[in-house]
């Protein structure tokens, strides 16, 4: 239930993947394209992925979440390509018996994804562009 896609992410599809009769809680994180970063107006984002490795790293995150919390199911979808303002870049859904674990596991997953998964984001502004986090 890990996917890199150049098509719009269907949030409902991701949530349905983590349905489980033993789950009482589902936490879903949705990362969307904001219209500004540090006061610059963003026009669009471009995501580039090292697909095979990105999927492997996302699988590691899922396994790691399952080892740390009583996760019933977890799904991680990441978009690539050109995204306009408001579009969905990433969706993570986690189901657990109790809610605290769902929040913790989901937050762990997105925090780790941002540190380890080989995906790169270029912000395009009016009259400029910048690879996020590339420079110190």
């Amino acid at each position: 239930m890990i996917k890199i896609t150049d098509q719009p992410i269907n949030i409902t599809e991701v949530i349905e993947l983590v349905n489980a009769s033993g789950a009482g809680a589902i936490d879903v994180f949705i990362g969307t394209v904001r219209n500004k970063t540090q006061e610059k107006q963003v026009t669009r984002l471009e995501f580039e992925a090292y697909d095979g490795m990105a999927v492997k790293e996302m699988q590691k995150i899922a396994e790691s979440a399952k080892s740390k919390w009583p996760v019933q199911k977890i799904a991680i979808y990441h978009r690539k390509g050109v995204l306009e303002i408001g579009e969905v870049a990433v969706v993570i859904a986690v189901s657990t018996p109790h809610r605290k674990d769902a929040f913790e596991a989901c937050q762990f997953a997105i925090d780790t994804l941002k540190q380890t998964v080989p995906i790169w984001k270029k912000e395009v502004f009016e009259g400029g562009e910048e690879w996020v986090s590339a420079h110190p």
Partner: protein
């Protein structure tokens, strides 16, 4: 020996292409490979970080490069 290197994001832009063939000494380590690449593309030194993945896994700097390895240059990631 000749190795094939994949580059992504800003590293791809600095190097001007996604695929690069490089001639490196036999038994070079990841650390040595990084030095060779940075020598050829000095702008890569300005990046906040740059690591190498081999066969789709992060590796240590002491890892020795083999002829059939899939080598990728990983600039600072920024997914999510």
């Amino acid at each position: 020996m000749e190795v094939n290197i994949l580059a992504f994001g800003i590293a791809r832009e600095i190097m001007g292409k996604q695929n690069l063939v490089l001639e490196i000494p036999n038994q070079s380590t990841v650390k040595e490979l990084l030095e060779i690449i940075e020598m050829q593309f000095p702008k890569l030194k300005d990046l906040a970080s740059m690591t190498i993945a081999i066969n789709e896994e992060y590796v240590k700097e002491e890892r020795e490069i083999k002829a059939m390895d899939e080598i990728a240059i990983i600039p600072p990631v920024s997914g999510g």
